[in-house]
Symmetry: C2
Subunit: 163 residues, 2 copies
DNA sequence: GGCAATTAGTTGTATAATACAATAATTGTA
DNA sequence: TACAATTATTGTATTATACAACTAATTGCC
């Protein structure tokens, strides 16, 4: 199927200037609203531990502000900083430039077709992912890459006595 | 742009049953024709060293046959084995199943639109990638992920004397 | 023909991303 | 009040990746 070609092409597109892909995902989600860490982890489909480190980098880069949630001090609130908003805009701009350039090679009809198709695909795939998240249908199951999954490590020996 | 959504969705789709993504790429390319290692590395846009290891796994799994190139004994020829062909077919099948299911939620008109758009996108992006490979336009430059790039390591001290 | 340069693939090495496990602090509940 | 559950962070191990180094084969040049 021709769709495979697209899949492989897009799979290779990972560079987001100055931030990692995971950071880019996080920035995008945060541009829509404020999140807790676990909330954002769910939104970007990353393990909490990984996201914690990812966000650490963003905070260090002053793209994200992390404040303690006063309603629950275990929790943090993550918000885009002004610089973060600018970064998102910059990434947007670059993407737009790329796709604009891409579109120049196509007729207006083709452009509309693509925009429409992309919207449909995005919508359908997202909803499908929500529905099928528990199944192992493979190859298009939008879970984290399998190669990173490893056997659960044996738990350490039972704690001796209570702390 | 809505395209971003698609990008992020597809980025998460990495699982290819029993093989890594890189292996999957390699298998796909090999399903089209036979390659040398460096040729395949260019086709899948992976460093030769990485691909060498990747192919090693495929050879171990008997999905790929690696023979010495009689015309140049430095070189190897990589061919899909029968099992490899079956694996590609199986992956194909699974992908088809996914997209078929996806399409069920869409009208026939929408389906045609998507097929058409995907074909156009794939074709245009591929040719564009060929043209712009040297530029750092970012965010959609289909190069390997930036986060894996690291500063060149200092060369070891000049070799003392010739071997 | 001999030697330097180039090439192809393999191996060494270090980095980054990732998830499971463990931990500390906090909150919820009986 | 005590214990279970929750949240974020830290520890740890694995995997994929690319640059460097290496080895062997080939090519180019004198």
């Amino acid at each position: 199927m021709l769709e495979r070609e697209l899949l492989f092409q897009l799979e290779g597109e990972t560079a987001c200037c100055g931030v990692t892909l995971a950071q880019c995902h996080a920035l995008l989600e945060l541009s829509f609203s404020e999140f807790s860490l676990s909330g954002l982890a769910a939104a970007v489909d990353l393990d909490v531990s990984t996201l914690s480190r990812t966000v650490e980098g963003l905070v260090k880069a002053r793209l994200v502000e992390r404040t303690q949630d006063l309603a629950d001090r275990r929790s943090v609130r993550l918000v885009l900083s002004a610089a973060g908003r600018m970064k998102v805009a910059a990434i947007d701009e670059m993407c737009n430039r790329y796709y604009t350039g891409l579109f120049e090679e196509l007729s207006e009809k083709d452009q509309r077709c693509i925009v429409r198709a992309v919207g449909l695909l995005a919508h359908t795939m997202r909803s499908r992912r929500r529905v099928t998240n528990g199944q192992q249908s493979c190859c298009s199951t939008p879970q984290r890459s399998n190669q990173q999954r490893r056997p659960a490590r044996p738990r350490k020996a039972e704690k001796e006595g209570s702390k």
